[in-house]
Every structure is written in structure tokens, then in C-alpha cells.
Amino acid sequence: MTSSFTPVLSPRDPASAHFRETVPATYPWSGFVKKGQVIRIIDSEGCQAVDTLFYSTADHTERYSAQDTVLAQGTPYIGPGSVLYSNRGQVMAELVADTCGQHDTSAGACSCESNTVRFGQHTRYMHACRENFLIAVSRHGMTKRDIVPNINFFMNVPFDSEGGLAIADGVSAPGAYVELVARMDLLCVISNCPQVNNPCNAFDPTPIEILVWEG
């Protein structure tokens, strides 16, 4: 939580990363992160939600599970040291660095369809994360069935004591990052969120950067 958050910095040098790519605002990305490798996601300009899913490369039906993850750690919030679990109860990845401290496991990804319900029919033909996810998973032989509620890095969704939740203003500063070490061979699927109807991207989507290191 923000009040008690201590950033955990990474010792890794960007110059030694074997993969480095900028994902333009509103675009999808997918890539492989082998067991032991480390992936860094940089919120280059700040307050940019990064919708993220993980699949086992050995079997895509094994994938990130929000409910296994929050059950295992006893809270819906994730931060340094958090462990991400699959729908088979296996450890997929662990957060080893985090300079933001506010990430969401509960609110999932925006879609054209849910946008119409949340914001009105006039938002039906606006780009959305699940459009990005569909394009990205289709490159790996998957379909809509394989898309589940995801992690939103750098997205601030606090619960109140009555169970209310809302997407609040982001707190990630320009250049904030998270790093995860893969605990199995992973396919990582990202939507650099295009939403402009709520504060998840400060109403103005911006680029992010992905780096991967050998472990």
C-alpha cells in the first residue's frame, strides 16, 4: 500500500539486457520469458496501466490465475515478493523489483463490450485491451477462451471496507518499473492499455518498455 511502500530497486543494468523493446501507446506485445529469466516492464511516462497475462509455454491451458494468486498471498494487492500462481497451483513468476507499489489483480482488462456498459454505447468503437489480447494470443494459436482476468501493473484499484472499488488516479512516476523472475517457461502477453475513459492511463495512453535478462 502506498503509505508503507518501500521501493525495491533492481541491480540489473539495462545495457546487459538481451531484449529491449518499446511498446507504443495502445499496442499489444507478446514474448517468451524462460525459466530463470527476468522481465522488466517500464512505465516510461508514468500512470500507464499495463494489462498482463502469463501462459505456460509447455501447455497454454496453464495460465495466470488471479484467484489462485490472491488466495495464496492473502490480499488482492501485489508488490515486491508477490508470487503469481497458475490455474494449476504452480508458481509462474515472482516480483523481484518494484518501484511503484500499486498494481491491480481484480479489475481485469477493458473491452469494447464492457466499455459500452461502463461508459455508454458511444464507446463501442474505441480500441480496448481485450482487442489487443485477442490479436496477441491468436499469434500463439489461442482464442478468446484462453483470455482470463489479468494483472494490471501500475493500475491503482483500492477496495473500501464496504467492498466498493474504483479505478483511482495512478501513482506510478515516469520510469517506474516492475521486474519478475520466471519460475517456469512463460509466454507473456501484454496490452499497453488504450483506455481513455477512466484514470488508469491518466486519460492519455503512453508508451512502455520491455526488457528481458538472462537470469
Binding site: 490465475s65 492473502g74 490480499t75 463490450e113 461502463r118 477462451r145 467492498g163 466498493g164 486519460f203
Partner: protein, 271 residues
């Protein structure tokens, strides 16, 4: 994509704050209190199916649009997990994240609805004596059962029950999303930790869920993973024909989001 202009950002922010104020300010006030225990009798003539599900077991079946599934927690078992798929296209299914995000709350009760991943309503909570349900943590798993009951306990879990239930319809692991847990009084505390309120599990509570399209339903009668280690108890299901919704039907009109969700649902079903 070109950057948003300051005018666009200001207009979108103002609209978001307006929606938030309407949803978190006014909407909860129009929702009624929990259903009284004796307030929703089911006429014998309306009953389509009665089924008792033993503790630990699952039930799966088809529920048609307009039919109502009553889940009666006769003996006070701590948690019943549920999933639902569109029978005509099971790639459309319950989405827990959309359900709580769209309605601005994880606290579902009478008057709220369960959304699919397609911006449509699958089920309406038309009666509810409990109001204590979990939309975040979900059902038990092999790992949670092993932690609570030890290895090789033989205690059944929701994840495997859902694989079995989905399998009976030709569906597999890829078709199983996060679920919802009824009669599971959990909350998020100020420090971010989950809490279980044992006093919130009361024998005799029920929920009535009205199908808003033809659905495949899977129910797992397995205790919530935050509940203490207890012997799961039977639940009673009553599927009955519901009355056609009135123009002022609570679930269809309680919030602007519900109105838009039913608009999407009605358009889809009329095509």
C-alpha cells in the same frame, strides 16, 4: 495513436467522475435490504427441479432464460462456488472482474447482476437473504485443501469439481475462469488482508438467481478456502419458472450500468 488533447482529457475525466458519483453515491441507496426468509415462497406449480447436492460435490445443468435457480444453504455450509456459460456460445462466460468493475463494487447482493465477458447479463440476483458473497478470492483448490486438511485428505475442491462439471458439457480447463462464491463472508481489511467473518454464514440463507439467457451452470458445494476446516454440508437447489420481469424490475433498473447491460443482452437475444 495521437496524444489526447488537454480538452479531451478534461472532458473524459469529468465524465468519469460523474459516473463514479452516480454509481458509488446514489446506486447503493436504491438497493433494498436482504430478502426476508419468508418473503419469497416458491409455488409448487412453478418448480422444475429439486436437487440436494451432498457436501463436497458439484451440480451442473442447463437453466433457461427466465428460469430461477434458488441455492438454499439449508445447513449453513461455508461457501458455494458458481460458474456460468452462455449455452449457445460457451466462449461467453462469467467474468468476475467485469462484474465488480462495471458495478463499482465487489459486494453483490439483491439487485445486482453477474456479467459475462461480453458486456451482457448472465444472472440477476433477484432475491438474497444473505448479502455475504465473495467475488474476489474464488473457490477451493487442490493446494488450498492440502494446506487446510493435510495431504491425501480426500476432501473435494472447487477447481477439480469445475473441471468435472465443465467436462460434462465438452468444456475443458481453458473454459474455466475465476468463479463467484455465495455464502462466503469475506472482506478486504484496511491493511489489505482478507478477513473471513464466520458469523456471516447462517443456515437457511438463500439466493435466487434469474437466468437472463440460456446458461450452462456449474455449482461446487465445497467450503470457501478461507473458511475453517469443516465437513461440508448439503445444499438444496430449486429451479423454478420465474415471473416475467416488470418494466420496473429491480435488477434491470437499479443502476445505469444494469440498464446498459440489459440493453446489450436484449439486443443480442433479439438478433
Amino acid at each position: 495513436m495521437p496524444r489526447q488533447t488537454q480538452a479531451q482529457i478534461a472532458a473524459n475525466r469529468a465524465r468519469y467522475l460523474e459516473l463514479k458519483q452516480a454509481a458509488q453515491g446514489a446506486a447503493p441507496l436504491v438497493l433494498p435490504p436482504p430478502t426476508a426468509r419468508d418473503a419469497a415462497p416458491i409455488a409448487d406449480a412453478a418448480v422444475l427441479l429439486r436437487e440436494q447436492v451432498p457436501g463436497g460435490w458439484y451440480w451442473t445443468g442447463i437453466i433457461r432464460r427466465g428460469q430461477v435457480l434458488r441455492i438454499l444453504n439449508s445447513q449453513g455450509t461455508p461457501g458455494v462456488s458458481l460458474l456460468a456459460w452462455n449455452k449457445a456460445d460457451p466462449s461467453e462466460r462469467f467474468n468476475h472482474a467485469d462484474t465488480i468493475k462495471i458495478q463499482w463494487t465487489a459486494a453483490l447482493r439483491k439487485g445486482r447482476v453477474l456479467f459475462s465477458d461480453m458486456g451482457r447479463v448472465l444472472l440477476s440476483i433477484v432475491e438474497d437473504t444473505s448479502g455475504r458473497h465473495d467475488t474476489v478470492i474464488g473457490g477451493s483448490t487442490p493446494a488450498s485443501v492440502a494446506r487446510l486438511y493435510g495431504p491425501d485428505s480426500g476432501v473435494r475442491n472447487a477447481r477439480d469439481n469445475f473441471i468435472l462439471a465443465a467436462g460434462k458439457h465438452g468444456l475443458g480447463l481453458a473454459d474455466i475462469p475465476p468463479c463467484i462464491g455465495f455464502f462466503a463472508p469475506v472482506s478486504v481489511q484496511a491493511d489489505g488482508g482478507f478477513a473471513w467473518d464466520a458469523a456471516g454464514v447462517v443456515p437457511g440463507d438463500f439466493v435466487d438467481l434469474r437466468a437472463e439467457m440460456d446458461l450452462i451452470i456449474a455449482l461446487s458445494n465445497t467450503p470457501h478456502p478461507l473458511a475453517p476446516a469443516v465437513e461440508p454440508l448439503p445444499i438444496d437447489l430449486v429451479i423454478h419458472q420465474g415471473a416475467a420481469p416488470d418494466a420496473d424490475d429491480l435488477c434491470r433498473t437499479a443502476t445505469a450500468e444494469a440498464v446498459r447491460g440489459f440493453d446489450n443482452t436484449d439486443r443480442y437475444l433479439s438478433a
